[in-house]
Symmetry: C2
Subunit: 184 residues, 2 copies
């Protein structure tokens, strides 16, 4: 007899995971998942939808987890420039096409769409297309989507959603600048 509240091993599947909210730790926890997965010899692909020179430290760290972790930042030298939305859309499209290909290759047990929520929020990609791609992922692959303002549809579709809620932030309250190892 199976307890009605227990876990059912037949239900094992790749999860759709969302880290959202205004607080810290959304990408950081996703990178922690990549680290844990690499420790279990699982292959992880990370698409960084927001790229910046301040990301150098974390990218180097993730690269040290090769061959298990592969990380690709969106087009070099790119910064979001909402004054040229067509260019933003083209860059987002290129990044999305690559992560979609990696997801569907079946080579990765975990695929991280870092800051995809940002991209969707700004309508740089059609939401329905992105969600459809994630919904049709290989069954056992875990997908992690991060960023503020996760859409209702994404939350509805996800298996595991965590809101990082800011209780206290040193920049806001004490005017402490961003620090190496913490924010970049």
């Amino acid at each position: 007899m199976r307890k009605p509240t227990g876990a059912d091993p037949r239900k094992r599947k790749g999860l759709i995971i969302v880290h959202t909210g205004e607080g810290k730790g959304k990408s950081t926890a996703a990178f922690g998942l990549a680290l844990r997965a690499a420790g279990n010899r699982m292959n992880v692909f990370i698409m960084q939808f927001m790229k910046g020179p301040w990301k150098a430290g974390e990218r180097k760290a993730l690269e040290s987890l090769a061959p298990y972790v592969e990380i690709v930042p969106m087009g070099d030298g790119f910064t979001w420039d909402t004054e040229n939305i067509e260019q933003d859309k083209a860059t987002a499209r290129k990044a999305f096409d690559l992560v979609k290909e990696k997801l569907n290759s079946g080579k990765f047990e975990m695929v991280i769409f870092e800051e995809i929520n940002y991209v969707l929020d700004y309508k740089f990609l059609p939401e329905d297309e992105v969600l459809e791609t994630i919904r049709n992922k290989p069954k056992m692959t875990h997908v992690v989507c991060t960023g503020r303002n996760a859409s209702k549809k994404l939350i509805e579709m996800a298996d595991l959603v965590t809101e990082m809620k800011m209780i206290k932030h040193p920049f806001a309250e004490q005017r402490i600048p961003a620090q190496k190892g913490i924010e970049f």
Copy 2:
């Protein structure tokens, strides 16, 4: 003239960071911070106040970040056993003495007290002593404390507090078992 809302570089200091709440990602985000710090060639010490065989994957991953990351699990074979509180207290004391020594050595730019909130919540260590140790840390060292039910005093003392809030959890809603790479 300095803008009143801007960051002040003179205020740079090691932060006291707390990850708490019922949701996922508290330890995972702490490990993400360790990863990022290692990428910046900073030295990190991690004391795992809760140890279990399921932690093997993440420990192996963190060990791969040597020499930058050093991780010590509490006494081998130990499991929390509230039926023998004196033994629990002795184990917690040993772990705390070691992490305190590492913290005060000044050799680490980041020290993670993983699940310390659990230990304090169960009163395995005197809270005032632990908080006093953290308050007197080397100025530039970041301290990260994780676990549910962070105490009011710790939150008050901290610079950066994030609550991981569970919005949706697959175990509760779909009876999906814990999965490799996600929970262990």
